[in-house]
Symmetry: C2
Subunit: 214 residues, 2 copies
Amino acid sequence: MNKIHTIPLPSLRRLPRYLNILEKMLDAGKTTVSATDIAEMLDLKPIQIRKDMAFTGIVGKPKIGYSTDTLVRTIKEFLGWNQQTKAVLIGAGSLGTALTGFEGFSRRGLNIVGIFDNNERKTGSPVYGRPIRPMNEFAELVQFHEVKLGIIAVPQENAQQVADTMVEAGICGIWNFSPAEIHVPDHVVVKREDLAEGLAVLFVQMQEHALSRE
Amino acid sequence: MNKIHTIPLPSLRRLPRYLNILEKMLDAGKTTVSATDIAEMLDLKPIQIRKDMAFTGIVGKPKIGYSTDTLVRTIKEFLGWNQQTKAVLIGAGSLGTALTGFEGFSRRGLNIVGIFDNNERKTGSPVYGRPIRPMNEFAELVQFHEVKLGIIAVPQENAQQVADTMVEAGICGIWNFSPAEIHVPDHVVVKREDLAEGLAVLFVQMQEHALSRE
């Protein structure tokens, strides 16, 4: 399992992009694909594609390229997307609702088995066919389904408390959609997803682009 | 404006995190702050903080640190968050709705002046107090408000068409929340925001973490 320790973050981030276009190629009946094909579609360099693919353990054949099917299977396996992963979500506001209904998640094996909110007026009402549950059912559901992944979709002032509740129930991976900095024990992994970060990158790139064309 | 060309992406991505905690410090009456203070709160190294801050043009004083207020103002200015930026959004589904209501955006100067959808049954109904507009009003609104930034929140099969419509109307920065790879002319900047990317990173980090503790 050495591979897991050695893939750089930018390479890891590109794998879902590759998977997206490879699946479309497979649907279109394209059974082999070269690094150059992929590079052209994504505006990247072929050498980059070859390096990234090598992290998943797959090597193309000279002049033939890769088997599209093998690439799709290997990337999915590498990312753990070939199996279902159960998750719970806390915070049934508009962001939590959007995440629950996000088609991209179920396609990638993410199965949100419980949606929770501390607002009693919300509990019971359905979100994409699943009822919003009260917080006092949280620990039991997490333990019953052996859920390891928790999604935080609450306002930032409540994020730390929600994270503590998750950790206490046995969650060891937290996907934090609030801008709060949360603190967790060493055995827990946190992935921040701050939309303002994307906004910063976009604003600065737009300014840069405008200047370079003056 | 040389600074814009030289800031590396990871540094740029950290600036919104710094801003978040600095604003809280300011609210709490903390008028000066050291790189070490910030580093501790974010689990980063002080040298990293100093380097990142230097890209915005600000330098701390030895033994005193930074003026919190100056840091907040300088980062905001650097990111263009000290002024309002108008944006339009296409796709009033659950993701589009969540983005429209996202409190973090208005705090960062993003003002969504128009929400559009091609579904006639949706047009007219309000999203966070703003009416969903039909697509035939798109170009006029963009030109009237001189909007430069467009947000795509439609399913991936419609993303390219929506991007074309945006470019034609004069949009030169696109924030793409669909997993589609969109193609635009050279003068347009695209920022992809694929939530599956975060999921990939989280899954692999959880596996890695579990293995390192075995």
